[in-house]
């Protein structure tokens, strides 16, 4: 028990469906830790990042949790909707902190029910609500009769925003059609034939990286203009490149973090970590928005832990960490993310995103950081968390 370091357990899918993103996020977490450790860590305690692969299989996530738990880890991140969902009850039972930024499940923002789960930043639900709000703004505030097609890979991550989307469709009266696509989600020709027939005004694509690329190409082959496409945040520079910078023009993306290398934190890392040759990976990944996403995630985590030690002192306990995270106020990591305020009731912290559009050479913000339909999202959150309390699943 004489442990001096702060251990983070990163149980990630490094080998199957999410390999396009996890290495960058791990790299960001490690680089940030290196940066802080060089200055004595958090309140004098070094950060330790433990990484293990779970192949996006829930049971292996559980295994990872059980193993790292015994190695003294109190904060875990799974970066996967299905895995987070599976491990969640154990966290609830054992009282260990689960970081769940940017992945499902959406109702975990309800701090009353999900005491130990911290989806800091926007959830998929919030992001979806914002997407719909954006569409609404493009239709002069009236969504009646507007046709929205939703294409998603048919598993937990893709299915995640459906409750919110359906509720919104009922509320706003737009015409929603779902287009599930079996995993691995690459062979989309069939789905797009259907989508073209549906003739949507908007297509929301809840895909992951390369699947977006396929989707964009299929859109072209089916003669659907790129402007109609809104994608979830998991699309990066590599994907734009694969679609073709010119071809991708007009594509819109729900965005959670600021991209690019201009931010001071990025600059600092480039100088002090990569400059010193201590980077945890390839420097070219610094161009990748997924790297920024990782930094964003861990900047709020580290800040939370800092608060925890400040308030409760060493040694850390899960309860102290919980306290620390719940005392984040208007934290925006120096403008890296939309400001979050985490409380005991709200573990999300606001859930603001914005819509960016690719203009052929760069991303152009189409809106401010916003959180729309908070009432609707809240309502769905309450419904689902109540359901969780009732059935335990």
């Amino acid at each position: 028990q004489a442990q001096n370091s702060i251990k983070f357990g990163l149980c990630y899918d490094l080998s199957k469906a999410y390999t396009f993103v996890t290495p960058q996020i791990v790299q960001a977490a490690k680089d940030y830790a290196t940066l802080l450790n060089a200055k004595g860590g958090i309140e004098g305690h070094p950060i330790e990042i433990l990484v293990q692969d779970h192949g996006n299989e829930p049971q292996r996530g559980i295994e990872c949790y059980e193993k790292l738990k015994r190695e003294g880890v109190m904060m875990f991140d799974y970066l996967s909707t299905p895995v987070s969902r599976a491990v969640l009850p154990r966290h609830m039972q054992d009282g260990n902190v689960m970081l769940q930024s940017f992945v499902g499940r959406g109702d975990a923002v309800d701090g009353d029910v999900f005491k130990w789960i911290f989806p800091i930043g926007p959830t998929y639900w919030g992001q979806m609500a914002n997407d719909v709000a954006y569409i609404k703004s493009q239709h002069k505030g009236n969504l009646k009769g507007v046709k929205v097609g939703f294409i998603y890979p048919d598993y937990a991550f893709g299915q995640e925003p459906i409750p919110v989307l359906k509720t919104l469709a009922a509320k706003e009266g737009f015409d929603l059609q779902l287009f599930p696509n079996p995993m691995p989600g690459r062979d989309q020709a069939a789905v797009w034939t259907q989508i073209r027939r549906f003739n949507p005004d908007w297509v929301i694509s809840w895909n992951l990286s390369a699947m977006h690329v396929v989707a964009a190409k299929e859109m072209k082959r089916n003669g659907i203009p790129m402007e109609k496409l809104i994608v979830v945040n998991w699309l990066n520079e590599v994907d734009i490149n694969n679609i073709g910078a010119a071809e991708a023009k007009g594509l819109k993306r729900g965005t959670n973090v600021v991209g690019g290398k201009d931010h001071p934190l990025m600059q600092q890392i480039i100088k002090e970590v990569y400059g010193a040759g201590k980077g945890a990976g390839d420097a070219k990944n610094l161009d990748d928005i997924y790297y920024n996403t990782g930094l964003a995630m861990y900047s709020s985590m580290f800040e939370g832990v800092r608060q925890a030690i400040k308030k409760g002192g060493w040694p850390l306990t899960p309860a102290k960490i919980k306290d620390g995270l719940e005392s984040l106020r208007n934290f925006d990591a120096n403008g890296f993310i939309a400001p979050v305020t985490v409380t005991a009731k709200d573990h999300g912290g606001g859930g603001k995103t914005r819509i960016d559009m690719w203009d052929g050479s760069k991303w152009v913000p189409q809106s401010d950081w916003t959180a729309a339909y908070t009432d609707v999202v809240d309502q769905v959150v309450k419904e689902q968390s109540a359901e969780f309390v009732k059935s335990g699943k």
Binding site: L14, P23, V51, P89, R90, Q159
Partner: protein, 357 residues
Amino acid sequence: MLYRRAGIFHTSYADDRRLFPIPFERWAMLALLAIALAAPFMFSSLALTSYIRPWLIWSAAVLGLNLVLGWAGQFHFGYAAIMGIGAYASVHAARHGVPWEIAVVLGGLMATAVGVVFAFAALRVKGLYLALSTLAMQFVMDWVISHVPAISGGVAATLQAPPMRLLGQVVKSEAGTYYVVLAWTVAVTLFMLNLRRSALGRALVAVREKDYAAAVIGVQAFRYKLVAFAASAFIGGVSGSMLIYGFYHAVTAEQFAVNVSIEVLAMVIVGGLGSIIGSFFGTAFILLLPGQMNAFIAWAARSIGLDVGVEALAHIPYMVYGATIILVLLLEPMGLGKLYGNVRNYLMVWPFGYVRK
């Protein structure tokens, strides 16, 4: 001469068919059992819960698959689905207040019912075509499990398992859970050992070797294929529940997907078709080796100051997994069980190597 056989005379036919006719092996078994019983006090909590317990459970499951694959010779690429059915059924039963022991048996029975459906494919086709139809059945089962909310508990849900209970008492301690698991594995192993020396086992092998020759001595291939699939499904179903109650404590559909079927299959084959001890070896190899190799390589790299990226490190287990299969098959196509058998045969006649002819 550990394996001394001189001076052992079997004086009755029953004696000739004892489980362990060689005294040394009887002693070895007793010793092993003693270690198994003392394990909670000998190993760390991490080893017990993360390695030994899953290993025991998977070994039981692998024995079940070996029954249908190794003994009856029928391809079964949908074993994970069977395990899943057992797991879901028993969890649902227990959640509805059925006593735990009965819930687990119910899980087994439910799996048996589905296993019998698989058997009907085996009655029509053989070989690769059977492999593919069972694989297709696995897909159908996957779909049913994940798309019928009454089973999976809704889209993307993770069904939490109630705690293990014996006679109404909650089994909470790590040791307690371990003993329950151990009891199940020992029971399955004993069953398989008995199978090897009983008429049922012979009939299964007969069906495997030549079904028409089996028929002519009165073995109804139909019936024994059914029995094989049913028995293995029961073992698989209960093992599936054990996996949930004794290890994961929660069920998800992905937990019993196609790749898991392939993994169990790999365990059986790496262990050796029809080999009981091989099933334990095979499970250990496929389940534990990749992770251990990974840790080892990470450690080795660190100690010589080399930096292996997280990504590469994550892929090593898969390379090891694939390489294990390839190497074992190259070394001894009949699997680790045969390798063990070779060593045993060697020791049996040691130091007189050239006894045959």
